[in-house]
């Protein structure tokens, strides 16, 4: 294994998302540059709460097997530790174990041996409730204060791992080959490698922040990216020769999906990029300096949780008649009132009927500034109720009522809707909702995150 010198640590990140695939030839070019670690994240809340709520993963198991096999092959060829974060997307203990099982499967099939460290991040609900009572939990952004009932309702709550648990895992398991972690702040694996080798935490977090997205900082955007971190700066370059990092592309990268372009809060502190300097070193490589890191006192971690919130059914229908379209809001109000009256035995607050009107405001909803509808509408009516069969029943009543509802000036008396699909009512299964998104003060950055080491043969 290459040991980081006092002057430089090199990190290879093959992709911004484990499971999406990446070009293997560029990954091998990165391995030839003798990185001190391969880091790769697979976490995101971006595709929705159903992962935390129902235990689903971002990608299929098959996709993870494909990527992990290439990564393990690289790990062995380069004799370089592989650090992967946020297993399965949400990083629950369940998905850390799925990744572990995938590694065991591949190791057995290929006759490989690994020393594996797992870092878990599920947080005990009783502990969260106790900390809430002690006033140590606050909302993160425009989120309501945490209600103890929401902790109970959440399927699972995870906390985001910072750099320290990765450092601890590397310290405690001499010669570890692979680390699979639960939910982590995306830059943590890269930052941990650099901080452990004694480099400036500000540069370590900033380089991690850029590399966690793979070569998204390049033009055109790509996958494999290499970082060189030194005493007072770092450099970044995509491995695909057809891509280049520019001062503009690297500086602008921190805009993406972030609340603020220069102030990036994470476990244990805030990264401040407002005084950074970006220099073009070659036509494809950029040097960054001037990053600052303000430690948070006390240390806080982000909690993420989601709950299930009933079952959904929808119907999808088109409307083309301009007499109907001109009155759509009034017609729908009448139809929904009739549907509610028909189901008068079901308490009103236990179900919801939400129309989506594409061609009017289906994409932007209440934010839509354009008020004139298009010449045709796609109408999707979403019903959420306590059971699947009730959701489908309410949905069916709303559909038939809308199909046959009379309205002023109606001359198309056979039906108001064009239905493309059967089943006419489509069950969607359970709905989920993020209900924990809060900051919790902790005394130790590592105490919440148990580490287990095992030899896989």
């Amino acid at each position: 294994m290459a040991v980081a010198s006092n002057d430089e640590i090199r990190i290879l990140t093959p992709s911004g998302m484990l499971g999406y695939g990446f070009p293997v030839d560029h990954f091998k070019m990165g391995l030839a540059l003798k990185p001190h670690a391969i880091t790769i994240d697979s976490g995101s809340t971006d595709s929705g709460p159903q992962k935390l709520g129902l235990g689903e993963m971002t990608c299929s198991r098959e996709a993870y097997v494909k990527d992990i096999e290439v990564l393990l092959e690289g790990q062995r060829a380069g004799k370089v530790p592989l650090l992967s974060s946020s297993a399965g997307g949400d990083g629950t203990n369940l998905h850390v174990d799925v990744f572990r099982d995938i590694i065991v499967e591949i190791a057995q099939r290929r006759g490989w041996r690994f020393k594996l460290a797992k870092i878990y991040s599920d947080v005990d609900k009783a502990h969260i409730a106790k900390e809430l009572k002690a006033g140590r939990i606050e909302p993160l952004g425009p989120v309501p204060p945490l209600d103890p009932r929401e902790i109970e309702a959440a399927t699972v709550v995870v906390a985001q791992i910072g750099a320290e648990p990765f450092v601890k895992a590397l310290d405690e398991s001499e010669g570890v080959d692979v680390i699979v972690s639960g939910r982590a702040y995306d830059p943590s694996p890269t930052a941990a490698m650099a901080i452990r080798a004694g480099f400036d935490p500000a540069l370590a977090w900033h380089m991690g922040k850029i590399m966690e997205c793979g070569a998204l900082c390049a033009e055109p955007v790509g996958r494999n990216v290499m970082g060189w971190l030194r005493r007072d700066h770092f450099e970044i370059e995509p491995l695909n020769p057809a891509e280049r990092c520019t001062t503009a592309s690297v500086a602008a990268h921190t805009l993406y999906e972030k609340t603020h372009p220069f102030l990036l809060a994470g476990p244990g502190g805030t990264l401040d990029l407002s005084h950074c300097t970006y220099e073009q070193v070659t036509d494809r490589r950029v040097r960054v300096s001037g990053s600052r890191f303000e430690p948070a006192k006390p240390y806080t971690v982000k909690l993420e949780g989601a709950k299930t919130s009933g079952y959904r059914s929808i119907f999808i229908a088109g409307a083309r008649d301009p007499i109907f379209i001109a009155q759509i809001d009034e017609i729908l109000a009448k139809v929904l009132a009739a549907t509610r009256a028909y189901f008068k035995e079901v308490p009103e607050e236990t179900y919801r009927i939400i129309p989506h009107l594409y061609g009017k405001n289906g994409v932007m909803g209440e934010l839509e500034p354009v008020k004139t509808p298009a010449h045709e509408l796609c109408i999707i009516v979403e019903v959420a109720a306590a059971t699947q069969s009730l959701a489908t029943a309410i949905c069916g009543k709303a559909r038939t009522a809308l199909m046959h509802s009379p309205y002023p000036g109606r001359i198309a008396t056979a039906g108001n809707l064009a239905s493309p699909f059967t089943p006419l009512e489509i069950p969607l299964g359970q709905a989920c909702e993020f209900n924990v998104y809060h900051l919790m003060k902790v005394d130790s950055p590592t105490a919440l995150f148990p580490i287990q080491v095992e030899e896989i043969a």
Partner: protein, 111 residues
């Protein structure tokens, strides 16, 4: 110099929207160069009040609003109308909430 009202979609390099976590929408307007950035900033057209009007959100609820010259960009972060991916969602990734911004017209040199 003669100017005509020109939409940002004809001026900016990037106008986009995306989730910033499950409870926020962030909007980026990235300009091609400092000169364009400065000209739009000096026009005084893009303000918190305009964003408040376009997105039907009170000015005091706007989380981030600013012209950031290091990246030649305007960044705006708003609360999401509802938590991401829940019942009633219209845009899981908040990837199509940028259009009111690209239609903003600023006085621009006539082509």
């Amino acid at each position: 110099m003669q100017t005509v009202p020109t939409p940002l979609r004809d001026i900016a390099k990037v106008v986009r929207s995306k989730n910033a976590g499950p409870f926020e929408i962030t909007l980026d307007i990235v300009f091609k160069n400092r000169a364009d950035f400065d000209a739009v900033k000096q026009s005084g057209v893009i303000t918190k009040e305009l964003v408040s009007e376009l997105y039907n959100v009170p000015t005091q609820a706007i989380i981030t609003f600013g012209f950031f010259e290091l990246v030649n960009a305007v960044k705006i972060t708003l609360p999401r109308p509802r938590p991401q991916g829940g019942i009633g969602e219209t845009d899981m990734h908040a990837a199509q909430q940028h259009v009111p911004l690209q239609e903003i017209r600023v006085p621009w040199p006539a082509p």
